[in-house]
Amino acid sequence: MRAALFVTCVNDALYPRTGIAVVRLLERLGVAVDFPAAQSCCGQPQYNTGYRYEAEPLVRRTARAFAGHEYVVTPSGSCAAMIREHYPRIGRKAAEEGRGGELAEAAASLAPRVYELTEFLVDVLGVTDVGAYFPHTVTYHPSCHGLRGLGLGDRPRRLLAAVKGLDLVDLPGAEECCGFGGTFAVKNPDVSTAMGADKIRAAAGTGAQVLCGADNSCLAHLDGLLRRADSPLRALHLAEILAATEEEPLP
């Protein structure tokens, strides 16, 4: 099986380790990974802030970059939700505003081929035990777009629970937003920080060593708060945990 990796702009520039982990994980599971270099950002920051016109070229670019791929896998629930939920709306709006049906067609073609990493693993590959090893206590924060936008359900937790050596502990108030929210984090910094502070307090209270998530943008916010507070708790992307094995443990 072949799959194209949509690494996302945040991971490309700031969290390459997550992208590398996805490549290693998928290859370990027998999937050949392509990385179309024409890919860029999904346009979520622009779209969610109200700049729909600025998002349009990125919708077009993303659709073109993955035109020939049957499976597009991304380690970000919010970027997957952007493509699946909002690309069709952006396309429809463009058509309504007299800019033709091209974007709508691009969206309709791409959206069903895009999978968030845990969906791809559980639904397409049909695995929950990916042969990972991570001997630490972990608590999982389900980011909102994965949880409510994509309906990931317990897929991430099932994958984590199957990791050898991993002790998964419940995060109180797990389904509450961490307060990142894209540009919300800088437009409403006080509320954003208050929400994040409650989240890391809840995570620290579980006794976990690692706060795991499946969206590095949310984790950047939480990790930023943890480091400012000199917390021993470490924020980590799910893919990195799933990629770790006894032979190649997480550095």
């Binding site: 390459p16 700049y51 016109y53 909102c144 929210g181 954003s192």
Partner: protein, 489 residues
């Protein structure tokens, strides 16, 4: 809407105060978490919740699409039943109609049933200016009124107050409005409720005029419906001689049978009760029973303009249950006052900028008062996709576009104050739309990683004031891939 909120600072500044108020945050956290857990249990009891939700959405959408027809049917039914219908295009007109109706009775005081519509138009203030005293009779509204305060929640207007604060307000203020609080007065809920009961009883028995809103208006029969928990509303709806109801035009449902849906979904969503304790329905007037005169003021006040917007109009499905407030993590931290409107929380963030327009600083900031986490959509009993409307209104703020104002189609220009952001978005898009340039930018960033400051200047400070920046890696993923995978291994 009411002038009370004019000059409100934009949401981020207003929220900053609330976030720092430890007592307020504790009050809000306790109240919202209690009610959200209870709501979830009450909703889970119904096996057909999803179908009720879909049915409520469908009935409301259908009614809104044919609102002109149903309003005329409603007017005919109310008139035939002995009521009088008045049409109010805006707050001023509604206030003038109500004031004249009260003055015509010769009375100088009215008792009020808790009503969002009258809060929205600032009726109490308008009546006061005409020398008419308006007494709120809902317990929480009474607390807010006595405290010279503003409501901070749709259903629980005094949610931001704890018991000790309420006792202090009762002791200090009741005497100047009527029967004073009993002495001594503790902060036990039973004692506080009894003090309010005694204070209000005097007013119920004296008042000749009552003012209410309505939760629903049935077009086919002309029936008004009020749901409440305390029974104080029923006192106002049955004892006085004249009853004046101010109701938003979107509260219409076509048939009596449609109530079957909402009488299940509203109580469970709002108070987490299977059924609310008091449901009062009246149709026009009945000789020898209840008010002898009934006036219905149908309030537009921006609703027709909202109706003209295909995406935004879904906000008019709202049945004011406030479930979205109780699950909203932003509301929980910012409190209701920060939204600068009688409609706080997620629904306020989509309703206010539509009813009032996005012209003021507060209204332009409200679409951004959300992380788009989607919890509000998930609990909404009429399935309003609040995140979708928020993004739609953000587009209106920063891109401009067509809107309807006072029935006229106009094209809004982008709001002021977004110039730097717009430039940044455009620059980012240019960079992101050219992967070669993006790659060069990433390399530049990687080379300068040792120079990365701990605190950023300008807009970036909003991040670095409270959070560390991510550590810039030595190599982007793109470069790693080029090195490791694009050449044969």
């Amino acid at each position: 809407m009411t002038g009370t909120y004019l000059g409100m600072p934009a949401f981020p500044e207003a929220a900053r105060e609330a976030v720092r108020d430890e007592v307020l945050r504790a009050n809000l956290r306790h109240a919202t978490h209690t009610i959200r857990d209870k709501r979830a249990r009450a909703v889970a009891e119904l096996a057909d919740w999803d179908r009720l939700r879909a049915a409520g959405k469908a009935v409301k959408d259908h009614t809104l699409r044919h609102l002109d027809r149903y309003l005329l049917q409603l007017e005919a039914a109310v008139t035939a039943a002995g009521g009088t219908v008045h049409w109010a295009a805006d707050a001023d007109e509604a206030n003038r109609i109500v004031t004249e109706l009260v003055l015509a009775t010769g009375e100088r005081e009215v008792v009020k049933v808790k009503s969002m519509a009258t809060q929205e138009i600032g009726l109490n203030e308008a009546l006061e200016a005409a020398g008419i005293a308006a007494y709120e009779t809902d317990l929480a509204e009474l607390i807010v009124q006595l405290g010279h305060d503003r409501p901070s929640h749709i259903l629980v207007p005094a949610i931001h107050r704890n018991r000790a604060e309420i006792r202090d307000i009762f002791r200090a203020e009741m005497g100047s409005w009527g029967r004073p609080a009993p002495e001594p007065l503790g902060d036990d809920p039973r004692e506080l409720a009894e003090a309010a009961r005694l204070h209000l009883r005097e007013k119920f028995l004296r008042a000749k005029v009552a003012v209410s809103g309505a939760n629903f208006m049935v077009a086919e029969t002309g029936t008004m419906v009020v749901l409440e928990s305390e029974g104080n509303g029923r006192m106002c709806l049955t004892l006085p001689e004249t009853l004046i109801s101010v109701v938003g035009i979107e509260k219409t449902v076509p048939t009596f049978r449609d109530l079957e849906i909402f009488l299940q979904t509203l109580p469970r969503s709002s108070t987490a009760e299977r059924m609310n304790p008091y449901t009062t329905m009246w149709t026009g007037t009945t000789a020898g029973d209840g008010p002898a005169a009934f006036h219905l003021v149908l309030l537009d006040n921006g609703r027709s303009d909202t109706l003209a917007d295909e995406t935004g109009r879904q906000a008019l499905r709202c049945i004011r249950c406030s479930a979205c407030l109780n699950v909203c993590p932003v509301y929980e931290r910012a409190g209701g006052h920060a939204y600068g409107s009688v409609y706080p929380g997620p629904i306020g963030a989509v309703l206010s900028p539509q009813l009032r327009g996005t012209g003021s600083a507060i209204d332009a900031s409200l679409p951004y008062a959300s992380t788009l986490c989607g919890a509000c959509y998930e609990v909404c009993p009429v399935a309003i996709d609040i995140p979708e409307v928020l993004v739609h209104l953000r587009e209106r703020v920063v891109q401009g576009g067509p809107v309807t104002r006072d029935g006229v189609r106009v094209t809004l220009r982008p709001a002021d104050g977004h110039t730097a952001e717009r430039a940044a978005m455009r620059a980012a898009r240019l960079l992101l739309d050219h992967p070669g340039a993006l790659r060069a930018g990433e390399r530049l960033l990687a080379r300068a990683r040792r120079l990365a400051p701990r605190r950023l200047p300008g807009a970036g400070r909003a991040w670095t004031d409270s959070r560390e920046l991510p550590t810039v890696p030595a190599e982007s993923f793109r470069d790693w891939w080029a090195r490791e995978r694009s050449t044969p291994r």
